[in-house]
């Protein structure tokens, strides 16, 4: 997994499995302090203390199809490699919040990658979940809600090529406006 978007896509599956109905993703670039923050917050079923502690252990997983769980472990490793930190807070019945911090200029900081694809593909697959993506740089703030897009489209399919291309272009144009560093 080379980019932050790939990791986000991966972590989102955890939130989806946890039956979240609202998932908020935020990326903040703080060039002044040479930092980049990733936050993913859901209102899923959450985890107890013990599970939260074990979640970043690659040999721990809640699933039954296999014995390893690498998603969170890999993201934690990426953050720590890039001179950053990783932190997971969760409460049963309330949800889970993940915070990862990276040193912006670190060669090991994963690039943002194709977050537009992550957003589109995840939204397409999970029609009843509200996804919010927010990206902040010192040039501005961009925020997109999946519900707004769906409401506006109505009966028109998200898979329609022109619509798919337009959604992806919308995200890309806005991110390039606020001079996202990839």
């Amino acid at each position: 997994m080379k980019s932050l978007s790939d990791h986000i896509m991966d972590i989102l599956q955890n939130s989806i499995s946890a039956k979240a109905t609202l998932i908020e993703i935020s990326v903040e670039e703080d060039k002044k302090n040479d930092l980049c923050f990733l936050k993913i917050k859901d209102n899923g079923r959450g985890m107890d203390e013990n599970t939260t502690r074990q979640a970043t252990n690659p040999f721990f997983t809640s699933r039954k199809t296999r014995k390893v769980g690498l998603g969170l472990s890999l993201l934690k490793q990426k953050a720590e490699m890039a001179n950053g930190t990783f932190n997971l807070i969760s409460e049963l019945g309330k949800g889970t919040e993940l915070n990862a911090k990276f040193q912006m200029s670190n060669v090991d900081r994963p690039p943002l990658g194709d977050i537009w694809d992550t957003f589109y593909l995840t939204m397409l697959s999970n029609k009843n979940i509200e996804f919010v993506y927010q990206h902040k740089t010192e040039k501005g703030d961009f925020k997109i809600h999946s519900s707004e897009i769906k409401e506006m489209l109505g009966e028109v399919s998200l898979m329609q090529k022109e619509i798919k291309d337009a959604i992806i272009e919308l995200i890309r144009n806005n991110l390039s406006d606020i001079e996202t560093v990839n």
Binding site: L121, S125, K161
Partner: protein
């Protein structure tokens, strides 16, 4: 053409699309559709499942095949990622392994369009996972 930046721009595209084509609408009856589930767990993403999923969406749309492409979790065949589960209407699910673009093309041309099985099926009594 102006750049697409806001929801209003997206709405304009929607209008253009609606006036030009007969729109494929969201179906309330997915059983009539070809259902494609792309394994999108850590193992899948690391092996390029995102590209596979994008390819299926683009290709099925281009060929006007009514299909529902979604993500699913890890099916337990991490060694064979990207894995794709294909459900033809009225048929049992079939799981294919190592689905890159070439394989995806083969699945669409041979299995989805003609109903003929091709190599690369993961031969295990398979049950769709729900989580």
């Amino acid at each position: 053409m102006t750049k697409i930046k806001t929801l209003a721009d997206l709405q304009r595209i929607k209008g253009e699309v609606q006036s030009k084509f007969k729109i494929r609408e969201n179906s309330n009856n997915p059983t009539q559709f070809v259902q494609i589930k792309v394994g999108m767990a850590t193992c899948g993403i690391a092996s390029g499942a995102k590209e596979t999923m994008k390819y299926f969406i683009e290709e099925l749309e281009r060929q006007a095949i009514d299909a529902l492409v979604t993500q699913t979790g890890c099916m337990g065949y991490c060694y064979a990622e990207p894995t794709v589960e294909v459900i033809l209407p009225g048929k049992e699910p079939v799981v294919f392994g190592f689905v890159n673009k070439t394989k995806a093309e083969d699945i669409i041309d041979t299995y989805i369009k003609k109903g003929e099985l091709i190599d690369g099926i993961i031969p295990i009594t398979f049950k769709t996972i729900d989580d």
